[in-house]
Amino acid sequence: MVFMAVTGFAIARLRNLFGVVMLTGIFSLMSAVLYVVLDAVDVAFTEAAVGAGIATVLMLSTLALTSSEERVSEDGKPMWALGLVVVTGAVLIYGTLDMPPFGDAYAPIHHHVAPRYLERSGQEVGIPNVVTSILASYRGYDTLGEVYVIFTAACGVLLIIGQPKRGRRRTLRMLVGEMRHGMRQNVILRVVSKLLIPFILVFALYVQWHGDFGPGGGFQAGVIFASGFILYALIFDVDTSRMVVPSGVTRLLLALGVLLYAGVGVVGLLRGGNFLNYSVLAEEQTVGQHLGILLVEFGVGLTVAAAMITIFFTFARQEH
């Protein structure tokens, strides 16, 4: 954690934005390691894929489109900011004084709501990964909201920097040029990535279906799946990979994923339960829960993968 603090300070000082972005990625990876130490394997998985992966790629493409050097400000403006930060920090430290000490098994959070998940999710939901049980079932509604957040972001990026329609002919022309240019690129890189990408996609599917038993699930799978395509785009070129996944298809998948999730909820409602009740999906409660979780996780995977691909390609196709 001390390493993280050092990295944080370095980010604050550094003026070169490429360096800053790289350090942010490292910062995020360190936090992922920390999550593993603190038993949060699912979170670590996600943070590594998102924070260190997707966010870094997005920041780099933004820098490519803007500028990579931060201008040195000459005025002493940050003084009030420093004051505000010190005050806020002091308030927070004051707030920590009555907190239960780290790792204390008697702290209130381990005694009111949480024990039931650990004790009864085995019978009620029937899958070993408690995080998945809570994520997809007990607090499934939060997760639905979360998928909608990423859906909102993807639509938003399309709306803000998406180029409507006119691109098609130009894309084709560029494609020819790019391919010729691509031939000159590093052969080893291309061969290795060609070998690697199928494995990434298969691994994503594994993560998708394995989320019930070990760490993983729709969100991580979606990100990994998308990163397969992003890698392809980075090494070959954006337009070729765009041909593999046309924007119409990603857009459709983006919508279908959230519709699948919400749809499963509505089916539960039609079969006599409340919204998002999976138990009524089948005769037996755990079978229904299992089915429901598989379906919604698949919905999450679809939307997240489509959203990440959409966001990345929209950034990548900007001209400067």
């Binding site: 603090a5 980010i11 604050a12 934005l17 800053v20 942010t24 999550y35 038993d39 949060a40 394997v41 699912d42 979170v43 943070e47 998102v50 924070g51 997707i54 966010a55 997005l58 920041m59 489109l65 803007t66 500028s67 931060e70 201008r71 400000s73 940050p78 900011a81 930060v85 010190v86 920090g89 927070l92 430290i93 920590t96 907190m99 000490p101 780290f102 790792g103 204390d104 098994a105 959070i109 381990h110 949480a114 650990l118 085995g122 408690v130 995080v131 809570i134 994520l135 939060d142 909201g145 979360e146 990423i150 972001a153 938003g156 990026v157 920097i161 070990g214 969100f219 997240v304 950034f315």
Partner: protein, 117 residues
């Protein structure tokens, strides 16, 4: 012992404030987003830290394990990470457009241009 137990939280506070400082003190729009990221990640670390139980294992049910760490904060933070990356993506998209419209991504230069309008 009392203070050692809280040390973790203090480091987290320092992390949070580093991020917060980057957001409010820096002029560069991309760097502000980086600051927001760091601020948010440190809040995530805060949640995960409070979930840890000494001697606990990851909350995946298995035979013969008695103590698990608290799974609920893990779930909350999974959600929050997604929210974080969604915000980052939108923020960066706006930065790209701002750069197109103003020709700069330094906040004070943009402000100067706006005052002339």
């Amino acid at each position: 012992m009392e203070f050692l137990g809280l040390l973790n939280y203090w480091i987290i506070v320092v992390l949070m404030m580093t991020g917060f400082y980057i957001v409010i003190a820096h002029n560069n729009l991309v760097k502000k987003i980086v600051g927001l990221n760091i601020f948010q990640v440190s809040v995530f670390v805060f949640y995960i830290t409070m979930a840890k139980v000494k001697g606990g294992t990851p909350p995946i049910l298995a035979e013969g394990i008695e103590i698990y760490s608290n799974p609920l904060p893990h779930v909350l933070i999974l959600t929050a990470i997604v929210v974080g990356v969604a915000t980052t993506a939108l923020g960066l998209a706006l930065v790209v457009r701002i750069r197109d419209a103003y020709g700069t991504i330094e906040d004070d230069e943009i402000e100067a241009q706006e005052n002339e309008l």
